[in-house]
């Protein structure tokens, strides 16, 4: 059979697997904090950096970050991007209905930057250095999206 005559089968295989991820000891504490509308981080005994969300290890110091600290709900927008596309499950790009803002927010000088949605402001008016504050869902359940977004303070 010559190459020209060959046909390639291109079956589309829509695979969807289920995984059960255990979130571990530290993220569990983070979501417990959410139930009281608190933002918690874990502090490194070596460099005193605070990781938000909390986790076990500071990779720089190789130390366990046992201590939990509460962070302020207001902070500074350090860096941001305006999204004009959305990436859906499956990694496909499509145009966004309207531009939206993702920001890296500094809640404390020692805290790692928290990535979140920034709403309540025209995307073209967003500036690094803006003060922003946390907006919670009315009903908090100890879940990812209890902390709904940030908005200008």
């Amino acid at each position: 059979m010559s190459v020209q005559e060959e046909t390639f089968l291109t079956p589309v295989v829509p695979l969807d697997f289920t995984y059960n991820y255990y979130i571990g000891q530290y993220l569990t504490r983070y979501f417990k904090g959410f139930k009281e509308k608190k933002i918690l981080g874990s502090r490194c005994p070596g460099c005193s950096k605070v990781a938000v969300p909390p986790r076990k290890y500071c990779g720089v110091c190789n130390k366990v970050m046992e201590e939990m600290v509460e962070l302020p709900q207001e902070g500074t927008l350090e860096n941001f991007t305006v999204g004009h596309v959305t990436m859906e499950k499956g990694g496909r790009l499509s145009p966004a209905e309207k531009p939206y803002v993702l920001g890296l927010i500094k809640l404390d000088d020692k805290a790692s930057l928290l990535l979140h949605k920034v709403e309540g402001v025209d995307p073209s008016q967003v500036k690094a250095g803006m003060k922003v504050k946390a907006v919670w869902k009315d009903q908090v359940e100890g879940d990812y999206w209890d902390l709904d977004h940030f908005e200008p303070a």
């Binding site: 089968l9 079956p11 295989v13 695979l15 697997f17 289920t18 995984y19 059960n20 991820y21 255990y22 979130i23 571990g24 000891q25 530290y26 993220l27 986790r55 076990k56 290890y57 500071c58 990779g59 720089v60 190789n62």
Partner: protein
């Protein structure tokens, strides 16, 4: 070529079905902490890290990136190795070459699997799913011989062909598979890092477990385990400073056959029990280690046996006994911890299978035996040379490591 030694070993405190209390990097960090405790080293002593686990099982791509902060690796070279079931040993081999090349002195191997977070059979089916889809599209009956061969690629279905072939060629019976499975469950009960343990296991008890696909029963099959293993290797100069006791690498080797071997894909029917790569890899390893007569010179063997018959089958394939002889050695009790050819005192993969760690555990278990640190499952005879075997890929890839209690003469 430089000499390379194992100077530290760390396991997670337990190897069990479900670690619900920790996320993946948290679990891995426990084994890393234990390796540092075991070796007396600190993160600053590590020059490079080699990381391995089974691809895709937990729905993660390159999980060393997520784990980087938990494995003392920041600012260091990290290499991810993945070769299926053999991953743990392939990662060990990569660490060996990091040092043997002269580029690094102390290298840490990190392996894990957290089966409870994914579905191993789904992961394994991923090996052949595209073939099945292509067959469906081409109108091939996947329930017929070809399809079943393909489907068997990843699970006990295909293994039953291998076991049947082994029984046919060796003259052994299903009762021998029951007996070796029972021996390994008993051995496992003495190993704190084993998963399925039964100090009272007997061939009769195993024979009562349900048949999956003749001759394979539930009692012959490995569990899915959550656990992590870390192993630290060092050059000869460093090892002398770091460790009082070390296990020395005398040879590493591997061999791959074609992916269609042992399957019925594309109409090619080959014998899944032949396992030529095991024979070739072992021969290469013996040559590299300067071993003339493995039966006389090797004191202890760890076989990668996801399924119980493989202990016997691979002993024959790697030349530790004649074809048809392994089950007779078993009958005489020679494979027991008190025997002349002790095998899998750890309980083997059939008792504990956190896949990413499984082939590395074969190496670390040989090292523990050589250093006399295996505790309750230390074998009775003196161990001066040991062989670790890994099996994986698509049932067609084998790795071999030969260790000894002293450095090789270069």
């Amino acid at each position: 070529m430089r000499n390379v030694a194992i100077v530290g070993i760390g396991y997670t405190p337990v190897f069990v079905s479900k670690r619900r209390d920790v996320c993946i990097p948290e679990m891995i960090s426990e084994a890393v902490e234990n390796a540092f405790k075991n070796s007396g080293l600190t993160p600053a002593d590590i020059d490079a890290v080699v990381f391995g686990n089974m691809h895709t099982f937990e729905g993660l791509n390159l999980p060393h990136l997520w784990s980087a902060d938990f494995i003392a690796s920041l600012g260091k070279p990290v290499m991810r190795i993945a070769t299926g079931g053999t991953t743990g040993m392939s990662a060990f081999h990569a660490a060996y070459y990091h040092i043997a090349s002269g580029l690094h002195d102390v290298v840490m191997v990190v392996t894990y699997e957290k089966h409870s977070e994914g579905d191993a059979q789904v992961g394994l089916m991923g090996i052949i799913t595209p073939e099945i889809m292509a067959m469906l599209a081409a109108g091939i009956d996947v329930t017929g011989q070809k399809g079943m061969g393909a489907i068997g690629g990843g699970s006990a279905g295909g293994i039953s062909y291998q076991a049947t072939s082994y029984l046919h060629h060796s003259g052994a019976g299903i009762e021998h598979i029951d007996a070796i499975a029972a021996m390994e469950r008993r051995n496992a009960s003495k190993n704190p890092y084993a998963h399925l343990k039964d100090p009272e296991a007997t061939a009769e008890k195993i024979a009562q477990t349900p048949l999956i696909s003749w001759p394979i029963r539930f009692g012959h099959v490995c569990p899915t385990t959550d656990g992590a293993t870390v192993c630290i290797l060092a050059s000869e100069e460093k090892a002398a400073k770091i460790a009082d006791k070390a296990a020395w690498v005398w040879a590493v080797a591997n061999c791959a056959s074609d992916a269609t071997t042992g399957n019925l894909i594309e109409g090619i029917i080959t014998d899944p029990g032949e396992q030529m790569p095991a024979t070739i890899a072992a021969k290469k390893a013996y040559e590299r280690a300067g071993i003339q007569d493995p039966r006389k010179e090797i004191d202890y063997v760890e076989i990668y046996n996801g399924f119980a018959h493989q202990t016997l089958m691979f002993l024959e394939r790697i030349g530790m006994c004649e074809v048809g002889e392994a089950h007779k050695l078993l009958e005489k009790g020679e494979l027991e911890m008190s025997g002349s050819l002790p095998v899998n005192a750890s309980g083997g993969v059939v008792s504990t299978n956190a896949i990413g760690t499984s082939a590395l555990n074969r190496v670390t278990e040989c090292a523990l035996q050589l250093m006399g640190q295996a505790g309750e499952h230390q074998v009775e005879k003196e161990v001066h040379k040991a062989l670790a075997h890994g099996w994986g890929g698509l049932m067609q890839y084998v790795t071999i490591t030969i260790l000894a209690d002293k450095p090789k003469k270069l």
